[in-house]
C-alpha cells in the first residue's frame, strides 16, 4: 500500500505515503492558509497558521508538517481552528511595526494577505515589541528585524539551498533574531549577497539595498551622461511587476521604459554577454590547448564568485578571469564609448538593471575600476527598476516597443539565454565548437544542459580536441557538490558553468517575488523562445562584436581585453 486515505472536512482524499495534511488538502482543493511554509524550501510548523483539528488529538496540528495517516479525520474549518489561526496572526501582528504604507512589500506581503484572509481586523494586544536590529552593513541586502516574523525561510534557504549559512537564529524566545553569528552584520561575514533570502522573505524584513534615489539623482543632473544596461533575465521577469503572467517576454517595453525614464543611452548587457563568450571561449580553448588549469569555471555570477572566494579559495585558479558581462560593458562605456562620443568618462554614470543583488556588491569591488573610474556606478534590481517605472508614471503595458542603442546593444540568442541555468554553457559551446573546428555547428540546441536539475552533465565530441566534458550547477548547494567533486579529482570536467541562484539569473535574488520552480521554468522558456526568434544565435556572429574587436579590442585575450574585460579574485576567510 503506497497510498493513504484520510478524510478532510468529511471529504475522503487518497494521497501518496509520506504526504502531509497540507498536501492532502491541496489535492482535495481545500485551502489551508500558510505563512512560514514555503514549498521547495521549508516546512517547520512554526507560524501556526496552517493549524487543523485532528479527531482524537487535543492540540491543533500544523498541516504543513503533520503526516497524513490512514483513516485520520481532519477538520480545517472549525471554530477552534479559526480562533487559533487568528490568534497566531494576531500575535505576529502585535509585534509588527505596521509600517505597511511605506514598506517595500506593501501589497505583495504574505502577512498582509494572511491577516486579511483570516479576518484579523483588530489588534487587541498592545505591549512591548521586540527590538530588532537594522542591518545596513551589506552593499546588497538590507535587513530590518523589526519587520521580521521569524518564519526562518531566509535561514533555511541560506543553509539548505545555498549551503552558505550566513544567517541563523540568535537569542532566544522573544529576543530571537535572525542574524549572522555573533551578531555580525551581513556585510561582515561570509555572505555571498545572492539575495535568495530577500526572495523568500514573506514580509519586508529583507530587501535589496535601495539605490533608486541615487539613480534618480543622476538622471536629474544635467551634467551627467547616464547609460542604462539590462541583463537578459530582466526581460523575462519584469512584466510580472506589471501584471503580466510569468514567462512573458517584455524586451521592447523594457527598452522603451528605460528611454522614457530619461537615460541618455540604452545599451544591453546581452551585447557584453556575447563578448564574454568570445573571451571565455578563447580562454577555454587556450587552456585546453596549452594545458592550463581545468576545468575552467564561469565567472559571470558574482554570488558564486564570493562563494568560491570564501569557501574554496584554493580553487580560484579554475575561475575564468572574465568579468561578469555588465562589468565588461561598464568598462567599455567609460573607455571605448566615451572616446568615440567625446564624453568625459568622469561625467558618465553607468546603471545596470540586474536580476541580482550580488551585483550591487560586485560594482563596489576595487577590481572593478579598470576604466579609471567605477566601471558600473549603480546596480538596480528588476524590482527597483519596476518601482522607478511606476514612480515615473509610465504606462508600461501600453508602451510601444523600444530598441537598444548602438554600438553596444546588439545581441544574439546565445547572449539572451545567459539568464537561464545552462545558458552560458550552451552559448559557449556554440562558439567554442566553431572556433575550435572551423566548421559550422548545425544542431545548436544543447538541451542536455537546460532545465532545473541541480547538476547537469554532458559530453560533447569536438573534432581535433576529443570529448569535452562539461557540467552545469545552479544554486550554491549544488555548486558546493561540484567543487567537492573537483577536489576529489573524480570529475574530469573541462568546463563548468555555475550560477549562484536556483534556476540561474531568472531566479535571481533581485527578481520579482514570488519565485518558484514553475516561475523559473516559465521565465527560462521566455529566454529560449527569444533565442529561437533572433537572427543571430551564436555570439561570434554578432556584427557589433566583430566591430568592437576591429575598432578597439583588436583580439580576444589581447592587451585591451586583458585590461578592461578580465579581473582577479580575492581569497577570503570563511569566518
Amino acid at each position: 500500500m503506497n497510498t493513504i486515505r484520510l478524510s478532510i472536512n468529511g471529504q475522503v482524499v487518497e494521497v501518496e505515503k509520506g504526504s502531509t495534511i497540507l498536501d492532502a488538502a491541496k489535492k482535495a482543493n481545500i485551502h489551508i492558509p500558510t505563512l512560514c511554509y514555503l514549498p521547495e524550501v521549508q516546512a517547520i510548523g512554526a507560524c501556526r497558521v496552517c493549524l487543523v483539528e485532528i479527531e482524537g488529538i487535543g492540540n491543533l496540528q500544523a498541516a504543513c508538517v503533520h503526516p497524513a495517516i490512514e483513516g485520520m479525520k481532519v477538520h480545517t474549518n472549525t471554530e477552534k481552528v479559526r480562533k487559533a489561526r487568528r490568534f497566531s496572526v494576531e500575535m505576529i501582528l502585535s509585534n509588527h511595526p505596521m509600517e505597511c504604507l511605506t514598506c517595500a512589500r506593501n501589497l505583495n506581503c504574505e502577512l498582509q494577505k494572511v491577516a486579511q484572509e483570516l479576518g484579523v481586523n483588530e489588534i487587541r494586544f498592545a505591549g512591548e515589541k521586540s527590538k530588532g536590529i537594522i542591518d545596513e552593513s551589506s552593499p546588497s541586502i538590507r535587513r530590518d528585524n523589526n519587520k521580521c516574523i521569524l518564519c526562518r525561510r531566509c535561514v533555511t534557504v541560506c543553509e539548505a539551498i545555498q549551503s552558505v549559512s550566513a544567517l541563523s537564529l540568535q537569542g532566544r524566545g522573544f529576543e530571537t533574531q535572525v542574524m549572522p553569528a555573533f551578531e555580525n552584520g551581513l556585510g561582515e561575514v561570509a555572505c555571498t549577497n545572492c539575495g535568495q533570502c530577500s526572495l523568500v522573505c514573506p514580509v519586508g524584513a529583507i530587501t535589496e539595498k535601495d539605490d533608486t534615489q541615487a539613480v534618480w539623482d543622476a538622471l536629474s543632473d544635467p551634467t551627467k551622461f547616464v547609460i542604462i544596461q539590462d541583463a537578459p533575465a530582466v526581460r523575462a521577469a519584469l512584466g510580472e511587476e506589471f501584471g503580466y503572467p510569468p514567462g512573458t517576454l517584455v524586451t521592447g517595453k523594457m527598452l522603451a521604459a528605460a528611454r522614457k525614464l530619461g537615460f541618455d543611452r540604452v545599451f544591453d548587457t546581452n551585447f557584453a554577454a556575447d563578448l564574454t563568450i568570445i573571451e571565455e571561449g578563447s580562454e577555454l580553448l587556450k587552456r585546453v590547448k596549452e594545458g592550463g588549469k581545468l576545468p575552467l569555471i564561469t565567472s559571470c555570477s558574482p554570488g558564486w564568485i564570493k562563494f568560491i572566494e570564501h569557501f574554496y579559495p584554493e580553487l580560484l585558479p579554475h575561475l575564468s578571469t572574465c568579468k561578469s558581462p555588465h562589468q565588461m560593458l561598464g568598462a567599455l562605456c567609460k573607455t571605448y564609448f566615451a572616446k568615440k562620443e567625446g564624453i568625459n568618462p568622469k561625467d558618465m554614470v553607468v546603471v545596470s538593471v540586474m536580476p541580482c543583488t550580488a551585483k550591487k556588491f560586485e560594482c563596489t569591488r576595487p577590481e572593478m575600476t579598470d576604466s579609471g573610474y567605477k566601471d558600473v556606478d549603480y546596480v538596480l534590481t528588476t524590482r527597483e527598476f519596476a518601482k522607478m517605472i511606476k514612480e515615473a508614471g509610465i504606462d508600461f503595458r501600453n508602451l510601444e516597443d523600444g530598441t537598444y542603442d548602438n554600438p553596444m546593444g546588439e545581441y544574439t540568442g546565445a547572449a539572451t539565454i545567459f539568464g537561464a541555468t545552462g545558458g552560458v554553457m550552451e552559448a559557449a559551446l556554440r562558439t567554442a565548437y566553431e572556433l575550435a573546428t572551423g566548421k559550422t555547428l548545425e544542431d545548436i540546441d544543447f538541451v542536455q544542459v537546460r532545465g532545473l536539475n541541480g547538476i547537469k552533465e554532458a559530453t560533447i565530441p569536438v573534432e581535433g580536441i576529443g570529448d569535452v566534458k562539461v557540467a552545469v550547477a545552479h544554486g550554491l548547494g549544488n555548486a558546493r557538490k561540484l567543487m567537492e567533486r573537483i577536489k576529489s579529482g573524480e570529475a574530469g570536467y573541462h568546463f563548468i558553468e555555475i550560477m549562484a541562484c536556483p534556476g540561474g539569473c531568472v531566479g535571481g535574488g533581485g527578481q520579482p517575488i514570488p519565485v518558484d520552480a514553475r516561475i523559473r521554468t516559465l521565465r527560462a522558456q521566455a529566454l529560449y523562445s527569444e533565442d529561437k526568434s533572433l537572427k543571430y544565435r551564436k555570439s561570434h556572429e554578432n556584427p557589433s562584436i566583430k566591430k568592437i574587436y576591429e575598432e578597439f579590442l583588436k583580439e580576444p585575450l589581447g592587451e585591451k581585453s586583458h585590461k578592461l574585460l578580465h579581473t582577479k579574485y580575492t581569497p577570503r576567510n570563511r569566518y
Partner: protein, 526 residues
Amino acid sequence: MNIVRNHILISIDAGTLMAGARAVEDALIKELTKYGLDKEVSVLETGSLGITGRGVVLVVYPEGIYYADVTIKDVPELVEEHLLKGRPLKRLILTEAPKRTIITKEKTGLLKEQPRIVLKNCGFINPENIDEYIAAGGYEAIAKALQTMTPEDVVNEVKESGLLGRGGAGFPTGLKWEFAIKTPGDEKFVICNADEGEPGTFKDRLILEGDPHKLLEGMLIAGYAIRATTGFVYIRGEYSLSIERIEKAISDARSYGLLGKNILESNFSFDIFVKKGAGAYVCGEETALIESLEGKRGHPRNKPPFPINAGLWGKPTLVNNVETLANVPEIIRNGAAWYKGYGTEKCSGTKVYTILGHVATPGLIETEMGTTLKDIIFEYGGGIREGKAFKGALIGGAAGAFIGPEMLDVKMDFINLREYAAALGSGAILVMNEDTDMVDMLKSVLHFFKHESCGHCAPCRLGTAKLVDIIDEIAALKGKKEDLERMVEITQAMKNASFCPLGQSVSLPVSSALKYFRDEFMARVS
C-alpha cells in the same frame, strides 16, 4: 581488620560543597587524627542526605545523628564532644532529620519514614565507589536480566510494574519500551533525560550525585530491553558534580566490564556517553533535547514522528527521565509484583520530591505515590517555617499548578492530580506561607516562560511576552479586570496552538492561580 566504632557520612552534593563540605571533611580527619581516633572513626563521603539549604550536613553512625550547618569552627567541639566523649553536640543536631526505610515496607507508624527505592543508596554509599554500589546489591538486576530474561521479559516486567514516566507527563514506561522494541532498526539509542530544568526541581541532580551507578544500571537494562547499542546522558551543563560523578561511574563501569562489549559475558554490548546541555529549559522536551544532542539549536521537532520511531540521527530512540530509569533496577531485581506493593492502584511505586519554599526542612524526599500533600508538607517538610500559616503551593515546577489549602488532602499521584486539573510534573513542591504575594508569584512564573520560550513558534514566543506585559501591569496596579480574562484567553489559545509542551503548559499555572487566588488578583485590578 580494623574495628571502626563510628562512621561519619558527610553529604557531598552541589549545595554542601558550596557550604564548604570538603573543608569540614579535612578538618574532621585532622581533628580525629589529633586525638588518635582516626582508626576508630571513619569519615566517608556520600551523596545528598536529603537536606538542602542547611549548609554542611553529616550523619554520625551508629547513632544516626544528623548535624547541619557544620563549619570548620565547629569541628573541634564536635569531635571532642561526640566522638571522644560520646556526648552528641546538641546545638548542631538537626531535630527534623528525615528517616527512611529501605525498600522494605515496614510500618513503624512514623510517617517520616520514607520507603526508598530510587534514593535507596543516596546518603549511604560513596557514589564515587563502584564497589559500594555493588555491595549494596548494584548491578544484580542487569545480571539477572542478562542471564535469566529475554528483552521481551524485561519489557513485560516493566510494563507489569505500572511504572509511569517520572519526567512529568506520566506516560507508561513499559508501553514506551514496548513501542521501542517493536520498532525495527539496526541501531537504537537510549537517552537519559537529565536536563532537569523545572524551577525548584533538583531531584535528578541529587540522584545523579548520590547514586550514579543506579542510573547506569537502569540505562543498561533499558538498552538490553529495546536492543539498543548506545546510551547518552543528556545533562545540564551547570550540574558539574553530577557530570563528574556520572563520568567517573561510566569509566569505572567500563573497567569492570559492565559497559562495553559482551557485558557479563553475554552477547549484549552497550556503552554510555555524557552530553552536556547549555541550559535551555526547552531542551528538557525530548525532541529539543535530541536536536541539541545532535549539535543543533534546541528547538522542538514536530511529532509525529516520535523519537521512538525516528529520534537521534533519525534512529529509534528511547528517552527516559533519570528517576524513571533509577526505578528500573529495583523493579527487575525484586519483580513487578513487589513494586506494585508501593503506591496506588493506578500509580505504583514511589515519587521523589523536592520540597522548598517556606517549609522548615527543605530538601529531597521519597514517598509512596498517593501520599497526601499535607503529609508531604507538614510531616516530611516539617510544616511552615516560623509558625506561619500555609497559603498555597506550586506543584510540578513552572509548568505546574498552583493549589490552595483546599487541595491539601489530595493524594499525590499522576492520575489523581489530573482530575484536579493539576499535574505532578517534575515533583517540585514550592510551599508558600500566608505572606506570599500570589500576583508576584505568577509574575515570576510568566517571566520565566518568556525567558525560556525557545522562539520556534509564534504563539509561545509572542504569547509569553504578552502575558508578561499583562502581569506586569497588574502587579503595578495598572491592570484592569478584563486583563485577567485576556490572560486566560491567551493561555488557552497557546494551549491549542503552540508547537510543543512548553507553550501548551503555560495555561496550567495561570488558570490555577486564578482559580485558587482569584480574590487576590481581583483586588489588584480596577
